[in-house]
């Protein structure tokens, strides 16, 4: 999720620490799955089991806000979330797709 615009692991943060801060979860990214990253995630058929993908997408939102044209190395540095299905290649492809205009 994003806390004041920065990607945070919700599993690693006490609820009390979110008090008074602006929290955006995957459900708040768009009302109709129309965020460019959500669309790119579908085009590139990124998720498998999908369990980690909400966190991946929110981390990508944060990354693109700071770096609109990340290289593969930038993505690897910025997003250290773990995907047990191994969807990393398609995650990169989806981020590059958005960086290149969708």
């Amino acid at each position: 999720m994003l806390v004041d615009g920065q990607a945070q692991r919700s599993c690693d943060m006490d609820v009390g620490d979110a008090a008074g801060r602006n929290v955006t979860a995957i459900e708040g990214l768009s009302p109709d799955s129309s965020h460019p990253l959500q669309k790119a995630w579908i085009v590139e058929q990124v998720p498998q089991c999908g369990y980690c993908q909400s966190g991946m997408i929110m981390a990508a939102v944060d990354l693109l806000a700071q770096n609109p044209h990340p290289r593969d190395a930038d993505i690897a540095d910025a997003i250290d979330n773990i995907c047990a299905c191994g969807t990393y290649q398609r995650i990169r492809a989806a981020i590059h797709r958005v960086a290149n205009g969708g």
């Binding site: 459900e27 768009s30 058929q45 998720p47 369990y51």
Partner: protein
């Protein structure tokens, strides 16, 4: 067989529910449910969507919706889409019209590869269900064709199915599956419906968009961990610290827990929340008496690896699968690779069991009996 599933059995609101009106199938009604109804037709006309069960695997709505039930659990391997593809191929429907839902837990939806057990694992979904689903899709298609022919008063032999409609060859008139579904559902299924020749496959072997991805990019996908049913309890487990050990004396039930259960090589503690169960597990961890065999001291990764090496070199091979004449093929092969692969023994991460969608339970008994008989088992069946 009728499986009664109540709306109250479901906590996740997006879950559809179905009401079976008669043993052996018959008509199923969909009540404006997100997975079964399509607002463009049903909502606009305010007509309730009638969903007809053509067979075990296929429901067709009066709104032209095609719903395919899938017996396997999709844990990311694509079974939900892959199995629906098989049905959709033979049913002659466009992929964009197909919805797939997880079938309820029932012997009806078992995998032939597991002797009819509703198990997902071992790459057995497509090869286990393949023949049954092709036949089911083809049988449904033939029933729809027959329903159209009956409606026109002509022979089915001059009718064909394409893209969710039946066409008569003489006048080129069409009837849609949505219109035909109710009457098709009353016809006897053909025993040996003609199957599509693999050379004519439109969907099988072709890449298609997976059906489960929209829910996986907006937080609405339901996982095993999301399920909450009334009166549900939570268990946490403390394993014996050594392989081969057993629990010889249970600890007192910790404060905040409702029961401790001896599982032999582990002890479970039951509480009213995950947090309380974890707290109780930690509290009792040091109070469990284990009987650990002396041989346990020799169990470690290095020992296991050594033993594996010895078995590879001197043991008797277990043949998992043989195709063709292996030794003859190897004798004439241009290049032979002789390789040994090894992998360490690793614990299966616990969260993996939470990442598959839940299988709907069958009620074991009606309420009113003893509480023991009213248990439900919800399982995200990931292997």
């Amino acid at each position: 067989m009728s499986s009664q599933i109540r709306a109250s059995d479901f906590s996740p609101s997006r879950r559809h529910f179905i009401v079976s009106t008669a043993a052996g199938g018959g008509l199923l009604l969909g009540f404006g449910l997100p997975l079964l109804s399509r607002p463009a037709t049903a909502a606009a006309t305010n007509t309730p969507v009638v969903s007809s069960t053509i067979n075990t695997w296929i429901q067709i709505g009066s709104d032209e919706s095609i719903t395919i039930l899938v017996g396997s659990s999709d844990m990311g391997q694509g079974a939900l889409s892959g199995l629906a593809q098989i049905v959709a191929e033979e049913l002659m429907v466009d992929w964009s019209t197909v919805k797939a839902i997880e079938a309820p837990a029932s012997p009806l939806y078992g995998n032939p590869a597991f002797g009819g057990g509703q198990v997902t694992g071992g790459s057995n979904s497509v090869r286990g269900y393949y023949d049954a689903l092709r036949t089911a899709g083809a049988a449904a298609r033939e029933m729809l064709i027959t329903a159209a022919a009956n409606s026109w008063g002509i022979s089915a032999s001059v009718c064909s199915a394409t893209n969710g409609t039946v066409v008569r060859s003489d006048t080129k008139q069409t009837l849609s599956y949505g219109i035909l579904a109710q009457s098709a559902a009353t016809l006897p299924p053909p025993a040996n419906p003609p199957l599509t020749s693999p050379g004519n496959f439109r969907l099988l072997g072709k890449p298609v968009p997976r059906l489960d991805l929209p829910q996986k990019v907006n937080g609405s996908a339901v996982y095993g961990i999301d399920v909450v049913v009334p009166g549900m309890v939570y268990a946490a487990i403390v394993h014996c610290p050594s392989i081969g050990g057993t629990c010889t004396a249970l600890p007192q039930t910790p404060q905040g827990a409702s029961a401790v259960v001896n599982l032999g090589n582990a002890v479970a503690v039951v509480a009213d929340s995950t947090w309380n169960a974890f707290q109780a597990a930690n509290a009792m961890r040091g109070n469990i008496q284990w009987n650990v065999p002396a041989s346990a001291a020799a169990i470690n990764s290095a020992q296991i690896f050594l033993q594996a090496q010895q078995l590879v070199q001197h043991g008797t091979a277990l043949v998992a699968e043989t195709q063709g004449n292996v030794s003859a093929a190897l004798a004439v092969a241009a290049k032979v690779l002789d390789l040994t692969y090894d992998a360490p023994t690793l614990p299966m991460p616990r969260w993996r069991s939470l990442t598959a969608p839940p299988a709907l339970p069958q009620r074991t008994a009606k309420s009113g009996r003893s509480p023991r008989c009213n248990r439900q088992h919800w399982e995200p069946p990931r292997q």
